[in-house]
Amino acid sequence: MNQITNRQVICDTLCKAAETDKDIVVVCSDSRGSASMTPFAESYPAQFVELGIAEQNLVTVSAGLAACGKKVFAASPASFLSTRSYEQAKVDVAYSQTNVTLVGISGGISYGALGMTHHSCQDIAAMAALPGMRVYLPSDRFQTKCLVEELLKDEKPAYVRVSRLPTEDVYDENILFRLNRANVIAEGCDAVLIACGEMVPAAVRARRLLEKEGYSIGVIDMYCVKPVDKEAILKAAGGAKLLVTLEEHSPYGGLGSIVSQIAGEYCPRRVINLSLPDCHLIAGTNTEVFRYYGLDEEGVAATVREALAKDGAAEREGQE
C-alpha cells in the first residue's frame, strides 16, 4: 500500500518547481505541518509566508501577493479554507482572478473523529458555485503531481482538495493526464462509476467485485469536478444502463449534482448519487465512516447490484 500522501506530493512538486521559479509562494495558517509544507518552508523560507490561525487573512493576503506577480499556493484545512474564508475566496480569488491555488488539506471526513467542525463536506458545492473558480479532487499521488505541475503553468484560480491519509495508487508514473479531462479507467455497459478524490480507489475496488460476478462496470476518475468533463459523462451515459457517482461530500451541490444535471439535460439516464448523508456524521476513522455510509467497495457494489437487479426485473416485467 502506498504510504505517500497527496499533500506530501503537492509539497514535493512545489519544492521541485521552486528550484527555478522564485515567484512560487506557499502561504499557511499555522498549517505547514498538517499540510506537509514544512519541507518547502525550510527549503525556501523567502518564498513561504506564515499567517497564523487566520484563514480569512490567509486567502486575502494570498490574493495580494498574487496581484503582484506571485504564484500562490495557500494551504489550510479544507473545512476552514472553504467555508470560513468563503467570502475571501469569492471576492479576492475568484472575482479578482488572482493566481491563487487554494489547497484544502484533510478534506471531506479526513478528520473523522474530530467532528463536524473539522469536516469539509460542503466545499465542492461552495467552491464550484463561484464563477471563475476551478475545483479539483485528484485521486492518487501520480495524478496529484500532474495536476500541480499543470496548475503552475497557468495563472487562474483553483481549489484543490486532498485527503489526510495516503491514498491507494490508481495509476503509475505512466499516467496519461490531461487538464480538465477525466481519466477513463475502465469502460462498461451495465454501470459506470464516476468518482473523485479518495472515492476513486473505492470505485476501482467495487468494479473488481462486480466484474467477478459478470457485470460490465466502467470507472471514470472525474478529478476535474469543475470544469467537469461533460463529454466523458455523456459517453458513459450513452453506453451504460446506470451511472453511479461517488463522492466524499454532502448530497447537495457536489459531483453527483453536477453529473445528474448534465445527464438529465443531454442524455437522460438513471443516476444514483452515493455521498455522505445530509446530517451530522458519525464519528470514526474514514474507513469506518465510509463503510457505515456504504461508500466502501462492498457498499458501492451492493448499491449497483441492487439497482441493476431492480432495473432488470422492471425490464422483464415490461416485456411480459
Binding site: 509566508v49 499567517l51 497564523g52 487573512n57 493576503v61 496581484a67 503582484c68 506571485k70 479576492d92
Partner: protein
C-alpha cells in the same frame, strides 16, 4: 487654501455631478475621503497612466469601496480615462463604472468593496514588494465604520508581525455610518491605540480634509522604518456641502435638482 485642498474642491464638483446624474453612489463618504485621495494621487504616490504597468508603481487600494464614485473622479482627473465618461455612465446599465472598484476600470489594482478586505490585500502586496526588493509603497484607505469587520485585525496583526514599513493605511474617520454614528452603532473609537497595539506607527491628523496636514502625515509615514504606518484622518462626512455635513442620512442619499444646484453653488463659492 493650499493647491491640493483646492483641487479636492474642484473634484467635489465632479462628484456632486456624478452622484446627482446617476442617483446612486455614496456621496457623504466621497466628500470625506476626497482630500485623502487627492493628497495621495496628486501629492504622494508614484502612480499614473504613464507608469501603470511598471512593477514599481505605488499601489492604492480603496477598502471602503463604496466610495468608488470619488475614486473614479480622481482616476479620471489623473488621466486614466475620460472623467466625463465616468460621470455620464456611473452605475448605468452595462457600465464598467459600477458601484465598487473593479479592474475593468483603468487604474484600479484589484476588485474590492466587500468591507474588511483591503488591509489584508495590502499586506500581500507589501510582502511581495519585500520579497522582490522593490521600493513601491502600498496605500490602503479604510472607513471607520468598516473597522468593525474582524478581518481588519487579522491584516493589522500580520502587517505588524512582518514590520511592513512599505504599507500605509489611512482610516477616514468621519464618525458616521449608514445607521448613525460609529459611536452608537459599534464604537471603534481610539483607533490609533488599536493600531499601536498591533505594532503600527500611528499618525493622527486632526483635520483630514486638509491636504496639507495629510501630506505631512504621509511624509512621516514614509520616513518611518521597521513598522507599518496608520494615518488616522479625522474628517467630516459630507464635507464641503453644508446640508450634507455630519449627516448620516447622506451616506448614500439621492440628490434632488434643487440640492444639486445648492451644493454646486457652495463649492463654487469656496473655489472663488
Amino acid at each position: 487654501m493650499d493647491a491640493l485642498t483646492k483641487k479636492a474642491y474642484e473634484l467635489r464638483r465632479d462628484i456632486i455631478e456624478e452622484v446627482y446624474r446617476s442617483k446612486a453612489g455614496h456621496v457623504g463618504g466621497d466628500l470625506s475621503v476626497i482630500d485623502i485621495m487627492t493628497t495621495l494621487y496628486f501629492g504622494v504616490m508614484n502612480v499614473g497612466p504613464d507608469n501603470w504597468t511598471d512593477e514599481n508603481r505605488d499601489r492604492f487600494l480603496l477598502s471602503k469601496g463604496h466610495c468608488v464614485d470619488a475614486l473614479y473622479i480622481v482616476l479620471g482627473e489623473k488621466g486614466f480615462f475620460d472623467k466625463q465618461e465616468a460621470i455620464d455612465t456611473f452605475s448605468a446599465f452595462g457600465s464598467k463604472y459600477i458601484g465598487h472598484p473593479n479592474t475593468e476600470v483603468p487604474g484600479i489594482e484589484i476588485n474590492s468593496g466587500s468591507l474588511g478586505h483591503g488591509l489584508a490585500l495590502g499586506v500581500g502586496m507589501a510582502l511581495a514588494a519585500k520579497m522582490d526588493h522593490r521600493s513601491y509603497r502600498t496605500y490602503v484607505v479604510l472607513g471607520d465604520g468598516e473597522m468593525a469587520e474582524g478581518s481588519n485585525y487579522e491584516g493589522m496583526m500580520a502587517a505588524g508581525h512582518y514590520k511592513l514599513d512599505n504599507l500605509c493605511a489611512t482610516v477616514d474617520v468621519n464618525g458616521l455610518q449608514i445607521s448613525g454614528t460609529t459611536a452608537q452603532v459599534m464604537n471603534s473609537a481610539d483607533l490609533g491605540r488599536k493600531f499601536e497595539e498591533f505594532g503600527w506607527n500611528v499618525i493622527e491628523v486632526s483635520d483630514g480634509n486638509d491636504c496639507g496636514q495629510l501630506a505631512a502625515a504621509y511624509e512621516k509615514a514614509a520616513a518611518c522604518k521597521g513598522m507599518p504606518s496608520a494615518v488616522i484622518a479625522h474628517t467630516v462626512k459630507g464635507k464641503g456641502v453644508s446640508f450634507m455635513e455630519h449627516q448620516a442620512g447622506w451616506h448614500h442619499g439621492v440628490i434632488t435638482e434643487e440640492q444639486y444646484r445648492r451644493a454646486a453653488k457652495e463649492i463654487e463659492e469656496v473655489l472663488r
